[in-house]
Amino acid sequence: MRYFYFPGCTLETKAVGFNRSAKDAAGALGVELVTLPEWNCCGATFPLSTDNVLDLAGPARNLVSTAEAGGDTLAVACATCFNVLRRTNHFLRNNPETLEKLNAFLERPQPYAGQVEVRHLLDIFVHDIGLEAIRQCAVPGLRGLRAAAYYGCMLLRPAAEIALDDPERPDIMDQLLAALGAEVVDYPHRGECCGAYLTVKSPEASMPMSYRILSAAERAGAHVLATACPLCQFNLDWLQARLRQQYASYRPLPVLYFTQLMGLAFGLDTSGYGFEQHYVDPRPVLTQAGVLGEVKAP
């Protein structure tokens, strides 16, 4: 299977471990991800005001490029890019006037008609490849590791536009992690916001938000938290140094991308996955659980 792939700004810079592991995991499952030629930033938030036509031009250009390159699907790993591109597509399909304006603005040879489908890798892995094939590929697997699937906002809402999973009781990532052999822990707040961009100006606001999620997963017995969003990964990981000082009940919890866990489960070379760049080093926990080879002393 071959799909056009949208990496996005963060996966090409700060979250290279996500990018690397996403491509690796896809490759192991027979999915070829072809980086979209001439992709550009999605804008990082879906513009919410009604006079947003120009703000839609950026994300829309990626959809047009996919169609022009002959693709019918744009595969996305980053949950935020996925959300923005998918909402943009949904909006254009339902607002022909805006679509016409944007087509005129973008001045491309073929006007875009909404024909591209924006899909998240979780969707492609679970629905196109299937859990059975993933299970078969999961050697050595993640046996011994207790993982909490964290969804956050971008994979879930607004449900009518995103349509990936139940926004109140999502389980697509749980299914994937279970197929990898992990013991999946049940915990509340899995679809709650980590604080997102609030951290840029007000970490005091995102701290209790991230803490609620981390502490619930930790209390449920998780060894690691799995995410699909580089901003969630950052907040939930970077803020832990502050949470340590703020909350007496704080316990560290490594935060990994679900694709990093796939790479580990499939027995791939994880040396480019950037584990050493995480603020809470996941390697000791992964080693202890028996899913990562001995970590060499630095």
Binding site: C9, T13, A44, T50, A196, K201, S202, A205, R212, P230
Partner: protein
């Protein structure tokens, strides 16, 4: 505290603009409080999300714009997902932020951000933050 509510305020140009930019009918909200009950940022807000709507319903736009709540809304869409009246509160918050910045300028002074922390942030955090906090 004494609050004067008038027909002029309730039907003011500001309320009309907020409704236009957000695409929402603020009178649709009947204050069940479900949005506020589930808002993950409620504990740091000075006014609850439905109280912001109430202020706009009553034409008290200035007071809504003075609240820190509009800046603590993370556009997480939880309230919109749960509202029994289908009120798109994140869009309303966005309209209020835009209006506040038109009146008072940017909410974020980039020069005052912590340079060391900035070097660590993922790109999407800045792009999103700058889009929400600067006009």
């Amino acid at each position: 505290m004494r609050v004067t509510i008038s027909v002029e305020q309730v039907r003011s140009e500001w309320v009309r603009r907020i409704e236009e930019v957000s695409g929402q009918d603020v009178m649709a909200c009947y204050h069940c409080g479900k949005c506020s009950a589930g808002c993950p940022a409620a504990e740091v807000m000075d006014l609850l999300p439905n109280q912001i709507i109430r202020l706009v319903q009553l034409g008290q736009v200035e007071r809504a714009l003075e609240s820190q709540t509009i800046w603590y809304c993370a556009a997480c869409q939880t309230c919109y997902a749960r509202c029994p009246k289908g009120v798109d509160l994140p869009r309303l918050m966005e309209a209020l932020r835009e209006l506040a910045m038109q009146k008072r300028g940017d909410h974020l002074e980039i020069a005052r951000l912590d340079v060391q922390a900035l070097a660590e942030f993922p790109q999407q955090a800045f792009i999103a933050g700058f889009r929400k906090y600067t006009a």
